[in-house]
């Protein structure tokens, strides 16, 4: 008799394997996976896939950088506001990627990654405000802090699985805004008022606006983080991480130190999200407990699922989704209200909810997975 947990694990593994076969993800099959799982089928063409993906993301990023060079400079074709939008897409993409490392590649569920986002943001803000640190120097600090916090939080994850882990992370997301207001650290965090920062200007008297400069910084960070993620997943520890997802018991018997890897993965995942949070705080020049409500954790999770779990390009798509969806829901609601005369005043969340369900319905393996499937279908023809 297979247990419910195993069932979900196997279902998830199969979905991922399907994805891999379609070329959306270029990961090597888990070495510990027994021959019975479909993972073995892809073994032969995995290297080719990997090559393609290795080109794909850098290419995307070069393109993004190119857009800056082409239209750059003050008074360029892209406005400061659009640079802000692009930066935010990348920031959320880093966060989604972080969650993806945990959920997609290690099979653990987290509803609380907004907490690490907040931790990263506050680390940056506090260091800039109270220790006069350069904003760039706060990024590694945020990374270290979040890794430690994530690792420590991940330790109970050694014992908690599935829904219990979901609760623990849910609790974390709810507790963080309260902890930020805790009386004895108010001097540091600014309590309910938060901290106002100063927007960084472009250095070396570069002819760039602050938004353009921050975009470059974020772009560089995003490229670095995606590159790191790729290489990590490609390494021996990376394969162990995925083995734990696909066959936890088998991985254990193969001699993988499951507990250690799980906690480390949690730490790495938190590190990614923390860096995203720090960038977010620097871009917005402001942190406050209200900025990191539970809805942020939900947004990151939704981004990961909609983009495509266990997919690096999916993280980019997810980031874009997180960034644009609210505006779309708001605008669509207003249009609908203007077009049709309804007996009630619609609210944006209705459209948002319908959209989420439709997306999952149409593309159960995320947009990245969905696109890959389309492509595969096209090729076969």
């Amino acid at each position: 008799m297979s247990t419910p947990l195993q069932k979900t694990a196997i279902a998830a593994a199969q979905a991922v394997n399907d994805l891999m076969r379609k070329g959306a993800v270029a990961v090597e099959p888990a070495p510990a996976a027994p021959a019975a799982t479909p993972a073995m089928d892809v073994a032969t063409d995995a290297p080719a896939m990997r090559k393609r993906s290795r080109v794909l993301i850098p290419a995307l990023l070069v393109l993004a950088a190119g857009s800056l060079v082409l239209f750059g400079g003050k008074g360029g074709l892209i406005s400061d506001f659009q640079y802000l939008q692009l930066s935010l897409i990348l920031v959320y993409a880093i966060a989604v990627l972080g969650l993806n490392m945990l959920t997609g590649f290690n099979g653990q569920i987290s509803l609380g990654h907004g907490a690490f986002f907040a931790l990263g943001a506050y680390t940056a803000a506090v260091m800039i405000e109270h220790y006069n640190l350069n904003y760039l120097a706060t990024l590694p600090a945020a990374a270290v802090f979040c890794f430690i916090a994530g690792y420590l939080f991940g330790l109970p994850a050694l014992r908690l699985e599935g829904h219990y882990l979901a609760l623990a992370t849910f609790a974390l997301a709810t507790a963080v805004p309260q902890i930020l207001k805790y009386k004895h650290i108010e001097g540091l965090t600014g309590g309910v008022q938060g901290i106002n920062l100063i927007k960084p200007e472009a250095p070396f008297k570069l002819a760039l606006s602050s938004d353009q400069w921050m975009y470059l910084v974020v772009l560089a960070m995003a490229a670095l983080m995606f590159w790191l993620a790729r290489n990590l997943l490609d390494s021996r520890p990376g394969r162990a991480i995925m083995a734990i997802r696909d066959q936890p018991l088998a991985a254990l018997t193969m001699g993988i130190n499951t507990a250690h890897y799980k906690a480390t993965t949690f730490g790495i995942s938190a590190l990614f999200v923390g860096i995203a949070g720090a960038l977010h705080a620097i871009i917005f020049e402001y942190v406050s407990p209200d900025s990191y409500a539970f809805s942020l954790s939900v947004a990151i999770l939704v981004g990961a699922v909609v983009g495509g779990i266990a997919s690096l390009p999916g993280a980019l798509i997810g980031g874009a989704f997180v960034q644009v969806i609210d505006k779309y829901a708001d605008a669509a609601t207003k249009q609908l209200t203007a077009m049709v005369h309804l007996p009630i005043d619609l609210e944006p969340w209705t459209i948002y909810g319908i959209l989420l369900i439709t997306l999952v319905y149409v593309m159960p393996s995320g947009v990245a997975g969905g696109l890959a499937q389309l492509k595969a279908k096209w090729k076969r023809r």
């Binding site: 829904h163 990961a304 779990i309 609210e347």
Partner: protein
Amino acid sequence: MEQLLQQIASGLASGAIYACVALALVMIFTATEHLNFAQGEMAMFSTYLCWQLLQWGLGFWTALAIAAGLSFIIGVLIERIILRPLQGASALSVVVVFIGLLAIFHSMAGAIWSHTIKTFPSPFPEVAFAGSGIIGAHQIGMVAVTILMLSALFAFFRFTTLGLAMRAAAQNPTSARLVGVNVDWMLALGWGLAAAIGAVAGAMVAPVVYLEPNMMSSILLYGFAGALVGGISSPGGAVFGGFLVGVLENLVAYFGNLTEKMFGVYIIGNGEKLSVALIIVITILTLKPAGLFGHVITKRV
């Protein structure tokens, strides 16, 4: 000392709220192996349905029965129309669908019934009795209804064929199908029952916290914690867990306040009571991963 008693009683009263929600969560989990994040919002929506019926002049229990019936139908429809096509999807995709449902129910309730808080009548008579300063009549009624619901559920799962079939369908669909259980409909039935329980829970909660679209969003976390600490597969455990969380939370605040009064140092207080209660819950879970009353699942490779 009197305050301590009052705090425990008030914790039991809140605990009854959490227990109701935990019960509904356990219901869906038993039937479908999913934790329904939209459970709270569905219950809130059902409560609005009940409120509307009351506005139209129906009696309390009639209105509640109709609202529970309507909720049952809504629950079944959600399972058949929205979740059925996603049977093969990953657990995470289902979570996203739940988030979508949550958003829809929340916003629709606001759009239809507005955001101003509404009074919801208590079905229990306001009588003065010994100790009514410590715990109100409604609170006692709420605890009674929760226990009643729990016993009914217990009997249903234990002694009826339908209940047995539902459990079988959830735990081992393949074998259940082989012995002739209509597994598909069992899942839908589970959703319906959970929605109906949610309606009752909502009607018990609303007189205390007032009816508004946010009514359940914070309670869900408590219910969730209660369900898990008691053991997600055990209705009795869930109810116990709900009470435990309610009392624990009040005690944290009480002793925090007491230490502040006695030693003049603020360590923990009302601001941190939820966090501390959750830490305790999670600690219990790390020590006893299946919850206090859950079965340990033996894994086989």
